[in-house]
């Protein structure tokens, strides 16, 4: 290691003139006040996106009044117009949102007794028949929340040699029951419109358990049948969008049970809802059971035997899959993709 030429223990004197501590406080508070006036609503929405806890309470304690003031001033709009060209996100607009009128088809009617049973409700393999294979997988969309990583990158690597273009579009911190950040109804519509994927791999559920707005302004709390009904209805709308009237295949991964008991309860409700949601589209929507693979008998485990050797498959947070776990999930998804697409078979 070459020696440095100057004595490292003589700290560089900061440049610029010296001011008073009061000036430092004035400077920081002046910046803070300006930001509250301009970005107050953003601070409020940032707080709303956070999980419940002290942090959220503190941010909302600042964000709510700041947002109220910012809403009444024209500054936020002006700032948005000036900085809009810098935003890396596409604006989610148009039809398909969870709050808009339901689209036509089975998704709109739900799984009630009046819902029509069509050919789409049957997976050919369940009937002992050969599945209808699509000719070519050109575009694969891997999406979801943080659970979709690193599954997305591993899948992309495995199919890169087959000429498949993989679109990785994970939206961290989002959820079907958390549509104040991302409305997955809108997002799925936009993803399909922009990418026209032949296959969609969906792995989501790390941020679920939030209440849904119910009839008469009341909240539908997790995780009873009523909550599962709303979750399944939303998931079904997304499946309907992704399957592109039968032109695409959807691979929806269920949740491996998390380590913590409260999260397990949510995961069970989510998994039950996914299974119900997929029923009308069994010929195109594959529900891939990760719970059984990683947490058989409903018991959490961090490690499992892989190739005869005990291997850690979960991240230390007890929720996500690590690289080794994602590798297993990738293998399962690839198996189904190969069965569905001639170009991969």
């Amino acid at each position: 290691m070459p020696a440095t030429e100057r004595d490292p223990f003589i700290l560089d004197r900061p440049t610029g003139r010296r001011l008073r501590a009061r000036d430092a406080i004035v400077c920081v508070f002046f910046a803070a006040v300006l930001l509250l006036l301009v970005e107050g609503s953003s601070i409020r929405s940032s707080g709303q996106k956070m999980d419940a806890g002290v942090e959220r309470t503190v941010v909302l304690a600042v964000g709510n009044p700041a947002g109220w003031i910012a809403d009444r001033l024209p500054l936020a709009d002006a700032a948005d117009r000036v900085t809009a060209f810098l935003s890396p996100d596409d604006k989610l607009t148009g039809a398909g949102g969870f709050d808009s009128a339901p689209v036509a088809g089975p998704a709109a009617t739900g799984a009630g007794a009046g819902a029509p049973i069509t050919r789409d409700s049957f997976d050919a393999t369940d009937l002992g028949a050969k599945p209808t294979r699509l000719p070519e997988l050109k575009t694969l969309l891997v999406t979801g929340d943080s659970l979709a990583q690193p599954l997305d990158v591993q899948l992309a690597r495995r199919v890169a040699g087959d000429g498949v273009r993989t679109v990785r579009d994970a939206h961290l911190g989002t959820g079907i029951s958390k549509s104040d950040i991302v409305d997955w109804g809108l997002l799925s519509t936009q993803q399909v419109k922009q990418r026209t994927p032949d296959a969609v791999v969906m792995f989501m559920g790390a941020n679920e358990g939030f209440p849904f707005p119910g009839a008469g302004g009341r909240q539908v709390e997790c995780c009873g049948p009523e909550w599962a009904v709303v979750y399944a209805t939303r998931a079904r709308r997304m499946m309907q969008t992704y399957r592109r009237r039968g032109a695409a295949r959807v691979y929806w991964l269920t949740l491996p049970l998390p380590r913590d008991a409260p999260r397990q309860k949510i995961a069970r409700a989510v998994n039950a809802a996914i299974a119900v949601a997929a029923q009308p589209f069994r010929s195109q929507v594959r529900v891939l059971d990760m719970a059984d693979v990683f947490t058989p008998d409903g018991r959490y485990r961090a490690a499992m035997a892989v190739g005869g050797r005990e291997t850690i498959v979960r991240r230390p947070d007890g929720i996500h899959l690590n690289d080794a776990g994602a590798n297993i999930a990738t293998g399962i998804v690839l198996g189904r993709l190969r069965a569905d697409f001639e170009s991969l078979g």
Binding site: R17, E39, R168
Partner: protein, 463 residues
């Protein structure tokens, strides 16, 4: 807690105001800043605070015992035990999984079924920085360079939130003396602090995260899907990303500390203008370089025991320096490449003289090449990545902003420093309200570049 977040924007003004309000009453100021720093750290995980407190108390106990003892052998044993305990903490949390997997794999390969128990251990944020600073305190006390400090001062030194999670690695004898008396409220480098915070935010959010999103993450994630032009540009872009990410963090940390009245050492000095590897390491992560020099290279004998031992010492230092970044073979390879480059440079010093531009070109491209195993998820993918450089094809990710940002940052490092420094000094002289307005404007523009995913963590948080 991450600097460029709403949470920190709420946290910092309150802490800054209270810190200066309490500054004259050190008996209240110290517990207050200590509590604020632990609160800052607890956002990552409250349980990590137990480790931080444990490292603090353990090293303080060792320092006290060293100071009390007149027996040289006993003092040596105590310092050895303290450093071992520090490294053990680092080893368990950072390297155990890697070690167990590699050992199990090796034993399995020769048919021995003696697997080490596996455990999914969470990596405490910034543990490498905390442990190195703790070692610096205990060893400086052992060497007689610093008397043992009060426990609360040691606690503050290790937990002070501006440098807690990703440095710079501040030495105990740089920081603890600053705690001996209240900071002077009439001499605060407000302009310099704000300038650094603004520059750091732009580097991190507008440059590093932009390049990561647009080219680096896609190409390093699936190199097989891209041809040579994209792979080449991604290599340069990653060199820029990691510089802007890490030096951006450091700039913000130094700036925040200045506003609170504290001075931290510099950590970066335009590293990509280096025309030798020795120079590169005097410009890149300077506080790590000097730590490795003072606590590893020189104790090993440095360059005073002949050519062969100098080579050995350089290689040990650089390989361990690589491993310090994380438990992966990619970091080891990165350290090895730099070690070999330093050895070669050492051997040819004075014998071969290249024109400066040629030396720069060579050094810069070896540095860029060495970043590939550092960034790639594993060595196999690093190999795939390099092999894609031979596959010519379309440039799918080249865009004007990506190319412009990448080469502008490199060009700025090569440009003379004086005009830019003069610009910064002019900024620093602004009225406090104008400084605040400038900071708010920059934050507003920088915030507009953040995607709905939020600000990704700093790369060095995981080291």
């Amino acid at each position: 807690m991450v600097f460029p977040t709403v949470q920190f924007a709420v946290f910092f003004p309150i802490v800054l105001a209270l810190s200066w309000a309490l500054m004259r009453r050190q008996s209240i100021w110290k517990p207050f800043v200590l509590a604020a720093s632990y609160l800052f750290y607890s956002v990552a995980s409250p349980t990590f605070c137990i480790l931080l407190a444990g490292v603090t108390l353990g090293n303080q106990a060792a320092a006290q015992a060293i100071h009390r003892s007149d027996d040289a052998r006993l003092r040596k044993r105590i310092v050895a035990a303290a450093v071992t305990a520090d490294l053990l903490a680092l080893g368990v949390f950072k390297y155990y999984g890697f070690f167990a997997t590699e050992v199990n794999g090796a034993l399995d390969g020769v048919g021995l079924g003696l697997p080490l128990p596996l455990a999914a251990i969470a990596l405490p944020v910034g543990i490498s920085f905390i442990v190195f600073q703790a070692i610096s305190y205990t060893v400086d006390v052992y060497r007689g360079l610093l008397p043992p400090a009060k426990t609360i001062d040691v606690g503050l030194y290790l937990s002070f939130f501006p440098h807690l999670v990703a440095g710079p690695i501040v030495r105990a004898r740089e920081f603890i003396p600053q705690l001996q008396s209240p900071r002077d409220p009439r001499k605060v480098a407000v302009g310099a602090g704000v300038a650094l915070i603004v520059i750091g935010l732009v580097k991190k959010v507008a440059v590093a995260d932009f390049l990561a999103r647009e080219i680096v993450d896609p190409v390093f994630g699936v190199p097989q899907a891209y041809a040579a032009p994209d792979v080449l540009l991604a290599s340069y872009a990653y060199a820029v990303q990691i510089f802007c990410d890490f030096s951006g963090y450091t700039d913000i940390a130094i700036g925040l500390a200045l506003l609170m009245g504290f001075v931290f050492p510099q950590n970066f000095d335009r590293p990509y203008r280096a025309a030798s590897f020795g120079e590169f390491w005097r410009r890149w992560h300077m506080t790590l370089s000097r730590f490795l020099r003072d606590f590893l290279y020189i104790p090993l004998g440095g360059n005073r025991k002949g050519k062969l031992k100098t080579v050995r010492n350089l290689m040990i230092t650089m390989v361990l320096g690589g491993l310090w970044h994380g438990a992966a073979w990619g970091f080891v390879l990165w350290g090895t490449i730099h070690g070999v480059a330093l050895v070669v440079e050492h051997q040819f010093r004075g014998r071969v003289r290249l024109p400066r531009w040629l030396a720069w070109l060579l050094v810069f491209h070896i540095v860029v090449l060495a970043w590939i195993p550092f960034r790639a998820p594993d060595l196999g993918l690093a190999g795939d990545y390099v092999s894609r450089l031979a596959h010519w094809g379309p440039a799918t990710l080249w865009s004007v902003p990506v190319v412009l940002v990448t080469f502008l940052v490199i060009a700025l490092q090569l440009a003379p420093a004086r005009p830019l420094d003069a610009l910064r000094v002019r900024f620093e002289r602004l009225h406090p309200a104008a400084l605040g307005a400038s900071m708010a404007t920059v934050i507003m523009f920088v915030a507009a570049t953040v995607s709905s995913q939020g600000v990704p963590p700093f790369i060095y948080f995981s080291f």
